[in-house]
């Protein structure tokens, strides 16, 4: 299992700072969920971890800085499910999952029989055999999402990043996708960092929440500490009620304020 630490991490675009001095340590096997309003810097932080965006400060994987590694080595450690993944038209489901093996293939090389059997294995474990030979263009949103997660799993990276993994899915597929991640996390000891909008789901599935606002981490801890009506009101500018169920689940319900 692998730990992920942030030391004073900042991300800038064209002189505008999207993330200010983010510091946190994610324990091996932990699921951290980053929440916060649109534009708070959640995606920027995830993109910095993948190396898509340059960052200031240090991001450490098992104690050594990410920037010291090649992009290939980094991809062996970190798998990324983007907010709106590109599924190239004309590619079959199996070919798409095979892309996840790229970090293990040399620049001029080709996938080995081992890579192919890995993909085969992931596809059958995630119950995606029906999608393997279909053009990804013909798939539904839920099917596409499962395929993207399968690609990330085929990457065999100990750290899994998910950017809004459920925002395009209905409630059934949301649960299905998150259950899948949770199951894989337990089976493989994955360290998971996700950005999520649905606060109730974020509280249910993660071990810990980090609330970001205007690039700063303004609150963090277990769901019952972060998901408070006054905290959410302050940073989201919303009026909500927060219920605590008997099993400890925190439920966030928006208040209808007008015409009541």
């Amino acid at each position: 299992m692998t730990s992920l630490a942030f030391e004073n991490v900042s991300v800038q675009y064209d002189g505008r700072t999207a993330v200010h001095g983010f510091t946190d340590t994610i324990k091996p096997g932990e699921w951290l969920c980053i929440i916060g309003p649109n534009g708070a810097g959640k995606s920027s932080l995830l993109r910095a971890i993948t190396g898509v965006t340059p960052h200031g400060g240090r991001i450490l994987v098992d104690g050594s800085p990410l920037t010291a590694r090649s992009s290939r080595r980094r991809a062996q450690l970190i798998a990324y499910v983007p907010q709106s993944p590109v599924l190239p038209s004309g590619m079959t489901g199996a070919e798409y999952v095979l892309l996840g093996r790229n970090p293990f293939v040399t620049h001029f090389g080709h996938e080995s029989a081992l890579d192919h059997s890995m993909v085969n294995d992931v596809i059958s474990r995630l119950d995606l055999a029906d999608l393997a030979q279909r053009d990804v263009d013909t798939l539904s949103g839920g099917e596409r999402q499962r395929l993207v997660i399968a690609r990330a799993i085929a990457q065999e990276a100990p750290i899994l990043l998910l950017d809004e993994p459920t925002s395009a899915l209905d409630i059934g597929h949301q649960q299905q996708a998150l259950e899948l991640v949770d199951k894989l996390r337990r089976e493989h000891g994955l360290t998971v960092v996700s950005a999520m909008h649905d606060l109730t789901l974020a509280g249910i599935y993660s071990d810990r929440l980090a609330l970001m606002h205007a690039g700063h981490r303004v609150a963090h801890g277990p769901a019952e500490d972060v998901l408070r009506a006054e905290t959410l009101g302050e940073f989201y500018g919303v009026s909500v009620r927060v219920h605590r169920e008997d099993d400890g689940t925190i439920v966030v319900v928006p208040n209808r304020t007008a015409l009541r």
Binding site: A75, T92, N102
Partner: protein
Amino acid sequence: MSSPITAIQSTVHGASRWLIPASVVALLLAVLGGVMIGPAGPAWWRVPLELLNRLPLISIDSGMTSMEWAIIWQIRAPRVVLAAIVGSTLSIAGASYQGVFRNPLVDPYLLGVAAGAGLGATIVITVNRSGSSDWIIDPLPLAAFLGGLLAVLATYLVGSSVKNDRSSISLVLAGVAVTSLATAMQTFLLQRNSDVVRQVYSWILGRLSTATWGDVRLVIPYVLVSTVALLMHRRLLDVLRVGDEEATALGVDVSRVRLIVVISATLGTAAVVAVSGLIGFVGIIVPHAIRLVVGSSYRIVLPMSLLLGAVFLIVADIPGRILDNPAETPIGVVTAFLGAPFFLLILRTRQTQR
């Protein structure tokens, strides 16, 4: 239902099992047709007999005179071989450009290689209008080659100087700017030297008619390096199909791959443009047609472009020789005439299949 692993292999490897050999056969037939057909020379059926005769251990009397054999070997053969080289290079370069820029409509002239080569050729034709041969080597292909490379270099320097650009858009725009600049300079030169307009025009429209073995020897090294380098990147071009960001997250050094592919494709394109002029359409039509038939995986599109690009240009070069004999219809005109309807036909049949 077959297992997923065979699904991958059937789309990537299984399809190529018969497509590649079939394309090789098509190429051999095209080469044979190319050396058999022409306005002058021996009866067409004597050619295959004579070719067999030239093989070791076989002796057939084709009744061909040594004069006729010279037409075959010194005029038609280099022309066919050059057409094959130019067609395959433009096609594989086009397919690769389309891959790194993730745009199926770009052609190998995107970053200014054609305009640069045109300017280089125009300068040489203008300066050297008497056609004097006191040069050690023919300056025309050299100037076109260097002009093409310099134009792409300028595009790259301008395009990559844009800060914080996370896409290839500034590179493409720089290509547009460099192309316009080179074309403007060329127009200016032509206006001042209107007596060479015809000469420059015939270069621009593409020429295979004057091909010699010397031309073939001239381009072979560049074309080989370019083709091998591009073929070696066919898997990475497939990874790039998910976009720069996700490819980066999958461990691809995107800007490095793009640079290598652009350099390789440009080297090959500049070399063939230098000896054949600007033959349009090939770099878009051939990869496109292949994609419509075999799908869009670069693992199969690149090798197929190499083979069928050669077939396409050999075949396209045949009508030009006989149509308005003894004049030659420029090859660039023929490719456009053949290419556009061919493309429409494929698009139509593809639609009715669905």
